[in-house]
């Protein structure tokens, strides 16, 4: 409990109330009692605990008017001050918000903010985000917790270099370092701030409002395994497809030893999410697939598709063009876009002449694998021998010729024109 008192006390001005028994009936008169002192600048001179805090104690009687707490009394939050003035020195400064907001209080208690508020003292408590006396509903555009304002509120700390340096300095916390800078440029941030689209995702949608936990914490909404469900709150259709694909948690694993399956943020990033039709984005994703599918990644870049993609041409087939973006499955799965029954249609998405013959193309063919691709190995070997043979023969021819010229020149045996017959 002490942390409540400490934290809220730092931020809130004290509100004292006149003599009134705890649990006694409440009424407007009580506020008037408090206002006798707290609405008087003259009275408050020198009453602050530290010099300069006097003004914090100034609370006009109408301060709650029009807020969500319009009907509350000073003593609803400032418990114990009913006893009147002078206030007992041992009184708790403020009452916790969770007296009423029980669930939110519990969620906050479990969060990383609560943990850091206790140990380091600079993490946000209720009032840091919601304000103290002037609190509006999160449906009210004036509220800092209104959807359009959330990112700015979070960013006021998470964009602060001191906070970033204190809490997000390790390499693993890169997302924490870049979040405030990247989010406004992301598709979610642009939709929210530029287009005013309140249904777009803001900080609290992915991280929750109160039970905010770091991604390495199992209960976190951004814990690796929880990310599809978190994104799926909005992208419901995609996540259902993805979770049923070969990357889903229940699909029979072709590589049981792999620890991680990819989740949304691996390809789309966390805070820098952009539209997939942004130039170059799909090309970048190829590298993401290649992090696990190393062999296929290499052989892809041996093909025309891969080479021209590497040069920056974004029309040629990339991983997702053949394997789909979210419903990827091995070719042995009849539902797969690259299963024999679907290949004609899959190739046909780009190639007008796609037919059964066409699908016999090796999209990941490797001529150096004699046993797997004998049809490619022998032509490749022939061409390599031809290349090496011709260049070796004429390389020798030229080398010897140059040597002859040099010898003749040094001996002075040849005429000035070395073409002269010896």
């Amino acid at each position: 409990m002490f942390k409540w008192i400490l934290m809220l006390g730092c931020l809130l001005g004290l509100a004292a109330v006149g003599a009134r028994a705890q649990g006694g009936s409440r009424g407007r008169g009580e506020t008037v009692q408090c206002a006798k002192c707290h609405a008087s600048h003259d009275f408050l001179v020198g009453k602050g605990r530290k010099p300069g805090e006097d003004t914090l104690l100034f609370v006009p009687p109408t301060i709650l008017a029009g807020t969500v707490h319009d009907t509350l009394l000073c003593t609803s939050c400032h418990r114990g001050y009913e006893e009147g003035y002078p206030h007992a020195a041992t009184l708790p400064l403020v009452a916790p918000c969770q007296t009423c907001h029980e669930r939110e209080g519990r969620d906050w208690q479990a969060s990383i903010h609560a943990a850091n508020a206790e140990t380091k003292g600079d993490a946000p408590t209720c009032v840091r985000c919601h304000g103290s006396h002037v609190i509006y509903s999160n449906k009210d555009p004036r509220s800092p917790t209104y959807r359009l304002n959330v990112a700015a509120k979070c960013g006021s700390c998470h964009g602060d270099q001191r906070i970033i340096g204190t809490y997000f300095a390790t390499p693993a916390k890169e997302q924490g370092r870049i979040a405030a800078a990247q989010y406004p440029k992301s598709v979610h941030g642009v939709a929210m701030t530029r287009d005013g689209l309140v249904v777009s995702a803001t900080c609290s949608d992915c991280h929750r409002a109160h039970r905010i936990l770091p991604p390495d914490s199992i209960g976190s909404s951004v814990y690796r395994d929880s990310i599809p469900a978190t994104c799926g709150q909005c992208h419901s259709g995609l996540v259902r497809t993805f979770e049923a694909s070969a990357h889903g948690p229940t699909y029979p694993r072709a590589h049981p030893d792999t620890i991680h399956r990819p989740v949304c943020a691996d390809c789309h990033s966390a805070h820098g999410i952009v539209r997939i039709d942004r130039p170059g984005w799909l090309i970048g994703v190829v590298g993401e697939c290649g992090k696990c599918h190393e062999r296929l990644y290499e052989t892809y870049f041996d093909t025309y598709h891969g080479k021209v993609t590497r040069l920056g041409f974004d029309v040629a087939a990339k991983c997702s063009d053949c394997h789909t973006a979210h419903d990827m499955r091995p070719p042995t799965d009849p539902q797969s876009s690259v299963s024999p029954t679907h290949l004609v249609a899959t190739c046909g998405r780009c190639h007008a002449g796609s037919n059964q013959n066409f699908t016999e193309y090796y999209a990941h063919g490797d001529p150096r694998q004699r046993l797997k691709y004998p049809r490619l190995y022998w032509p490749w070997l022939f061409m390599t021998c031809l290349l090496v043979g011709v260049m070796a023969f004429f390389g020798l021819h030229t080398t010897l010729w140059v040597t002859r010229i040099a010898i003749d020149h040094r001996r002075g045996r040849g005429e000035e024109k070395t073409g002269g017959h010896s």
Binding site: L311, N357, F358, E360, G419, H421
Partner: protein, 283 residues
């Protein structure tokens, strides 16, 4: 003495003699232009992983432009190839001396003498014999000719397959495109490596020719040059009295400057490109 000592075709004594017809010179100019275009737009694709690939692609105007240039140059290549083949066929039907086109010292067909010349050349390299004397076409020139002939045929065919996969898939299996890619790419690499090193050395960079030989551009060279490079052909012409008919006026100053300019630009481009290839291969 000549006033143009830089040019091998101008060195040596005596009147100028014709060596290449206007058609051959035109076709060779088309070979130069189209080949450089093909290599500059094809290499970045083959060596897409090389650090210079993106730079070269941007230099030619981007990936899409590179693809268009490559296809335009391919059409030029088919054009000069078919023109040449058509001309040979035409000559076979109309020429009074049609045998000399396909056989004998004036033909491109490899002869026993070419094999003997290769052996003699290596002997000369090793100091074990005189330097062989060449006919109208040395074995090196014949190799160049047939390399282009073979190269255009197989790079062209495989290139068409890759250009029109939908059409070729009507009667070819898909893996034929994998093979076409291998052949197209490796044969093109061979052509690039060969032309920009061996061919350049043989016809421009060896001391007798250095730094440039414009005979393929202006079509003519001095008698001294012809005696040195194609001694047997010169001797034949002197003997059968056709030498006088081959005497040519010196190339005009404009033709000379144009030839040297185009020649040097092509040489420089080719050498840069082959250095890029070496860089990528050693990378």
């Amino acid at each position: 003495m000549t006033t143009r000592p830089m040019n091998a075709a101008d060195r040596g004594e005596g009147p100028y003699l014709w060596r290449f017809s206007p058609l051959n010179r035109t076709l060779h100019a088309l070979v130069i232009v189209s080949f450089l275009g093909l290599v500059m737009t094809g290499l970045p694709l083959k060596f897409a992983y090389a650090p210079w690939a993106q730079v070269l692609v941007r230099f030619v105007g981007g990936v899409t432009a590179a693809g268009i240039i490559h296809r335009i140059c391919a059409v030029i290549t088919f054009g000069y190839f078919l023109t040449h083949v058509g001309y040979i066929v035409y000559r076979l039907f109309t020429s009074r001396d049609r045998l000399s086109i396909v056989w004998g010292p004036n033909s491109m067909t490899p002869q026993l003498k070419d094999l003997q010349d290769i052996v003699a050349m290596f002997k000369w390299f090793l100091g074990k014999g005189p330097r062989p004397r060449f006919e109208r076409y040395s074995y090196m020139e014949k190799f160049d000719y047939w390399a282009v002939f073979w190269g255009v045929a197989i790079i062209g065919t495989s290139g068409l397959m890759l250009w029109f996969p939908g059409f070729f898939a009507r009667f070819l299996p898909g893996w034929a495109f994998n093979i076409a890619t291998i052949i197209h790419s490796d044969e093109a690499l061979l052509a690039t490596a060969f032309i920009f090193t061996i061919h350049f050395f043989n016809v421009h960079l060896r001391p007798e020719k250095f730094p440039i030989d414009t005979v393929i551009f202006t079509g003519r060279a001095t008698t001294g040059y012809m005696k040195e490079e194609h001694e047997l052909e010169y001797a034949r012409a002197a003997q059968d009295g056709t030498l006088q008919a081959r005497v040519a006026p010196p190339a005009s100053r404009a033709a000379y400057l144009w030839s040297v300019t185009v020649g040097f630009i092509s040489l420089a481009l080719g050498i840069v490109l082959v250095v890029l290839v070496a860089w990528a291969l050693l990378h």
